[in-house]
């Protein structure tokens, strides 16, 4: 149990996919203009990551090494398609916003990476813990980042039509925050901040271990 917990926490802190491993960046930068979209993106990633990790872990003994990548990717693609169809059916407005990024979850390096690096070599429970941890680690960052961008880029953060937080009306929201240059620059600063604050904590834990 303790081991599972460790695996889970690791995905959020020491091996955070976005901040430390630096994978799965594309969608993060693209969909983080909208807090709401980022939340659903995160949920989609958690779902796909956990499910594919679980399935691959269950069948890992039956997967021949030579064709493991095509097999992994078909499994992942299937779950992505399920997410795609379900979102289209139930939250069409979010689906319209996320657009091509839902199909592109397939090639989000995190998912194939975890399948290959973790699920293929570990038990089901650990793989699920890993998937959840990594997924939540991803979601936490993307949601936080989207929150910042939407807040400072448009002056208010909305979720399903409701305004969560708003800045005073005199705040002249710089649109560049929502544009692509803003995404890159802010993510760079975000990364620096994260390294300065969060990673240091992780390092200290590493020493205590």
């Amino acid at each position: 149990m303790k081991h599972l917990m460790q695996v889970f926490v690791r995905g959020i802190t020491r091996e955070n996919p976005l901040m430390i491993l630096m994978i799965g960046l594309c969608a993060t930068l693209a969909v983080s203009t909208q807090f709401q979209g980022a939340v659903f993106m995160g949920i989609a990633v958690i779902f796909v990551l956990t499910m594919s990790n679980a399935i691959i872990s269950v069948f890992r003994r039956f997967i021949p090494d030579e064709v493991r990548i095509p097999m992994f990717i078909v499994v992942i693609a299937s779950f992505v398609t399920i997410v795609d169809l379900v979102m289209k059916a139930f939250v069409p407005s979010v689906y319209a916003f996320l657009g091509i990024w839902i199909p592109l979850i397939v090639v989000n390096c995190i998912i194939l990476g975890r399948a290959e690096a973790f699920a293929y070599h570990n038990g089901v429970l650990a793989s699920i813990a890993d998937g959840l941890g990594m997924g939540i680690g991803y979601t936490a960052v993307i949601v936080l980042f989207a929150f910042v961008r939407e807040l400072f880029g448009s002056g208010a953060v909305k979720f399903l039509g409701a305004t969560l937080v708003g800045l005073p009306s005199w705040y002249p929201a710089p649109a560049v925050v929502l544009l692509f240059p803003g995404a890159f620059v802010l993510f760079g600063l975000f990364l620096a901040l994260w390294r300065a604050l969060v990673s240091r904590v992780g390092e200290e834990r590493g020493v205590c271990r």
Binding site: F62, P64, M71, V74, S78, P92, G99, L178, L179
Partner: protein, 190 residues
């Protein structure tokens, strides 16, 4: 440690078959729901742009073709006749799309019997948030179209203001409205 080719093929094919089957089932479950969602969105939009009408009927394919041909500025995707609860002719609903900055801007435009813009709404667009999306968030912009005269033409639409900093998105909306106007002129009276 190389596995036998047969085993490789078999495992991949099995995965594919299972995945395909599962997805087919998922699709058949969600497909009606997706269609319904789309229809509902369309209905909602039509009710919004043509509040007088109670029900909408698609027009005959001949008319749709004529409208498509007439509308040079944008692409007519659908054409409905609106009827009031009393059964009276309430006007037209036109689903139209035009190219914007990040892809097509799809709109539904409601015209009354005389061809005056009753209302218009954006179904979907992929414009830059904060810039292009201002065509929707700045309300004066869409509102100005309802002041166009009945039977308006291309020139009338062009004369309206655009949103500075969002030229392309503004132009897409204008193109949609101009296309709707042209379609109306082509099918009026038929």
């Amino acid at each position: 440690m190389a596995s036998s080719p047969l085993r490789l093929v078999a495992s991949v094919v099995t995965t594919c078959v299972v995945a395909a089957g599962g997805l087919a089932v998922t699709y058949s479950v969600t497909a009606p729901r997706i269609a319904a969602q789309e229809r509902a969105a369309e209905q909602r939009a039509m009710a919004k742009v043509l509040p007088d009408a109670a029900r909408f009927e698609p027009v005959a394919p001949v008319l749709l073709d004529a409208a498509k041909k007439a509308a040079a500025a944008g692409q007519i995707e659908g054409l409905w006749r609106g009827y009031a609860a009393s059964g009276d002719d309430a006007g037209w609903c036109i689903r139209v799309s035009a190219r914007g900055y990040g892809g097509p801007v799809r709109m539904v435009i409601g015209l009354d019997r005389n061809g005056k813009v009753q209302g218009l709404t954006i179904l979907s667009m992929n414009e830059t948030p904060g810039l292009g999306t201002r065509v929707e968030s700045e309300q004066w912009f869409l509102k100005q179209f309802t002041e166009l005269p009945a039977g308006f033409g291309d020139r009338d639409v062009r004369a309206l203001d655009a949103i500075s900093g969002a030229t392309r998105s503004s132009r897409a909306v204008k193109n949609c409205v101009a296309a709707a106007g042209a379609a109306f002129l082509a099918i009026r009276g038929r």
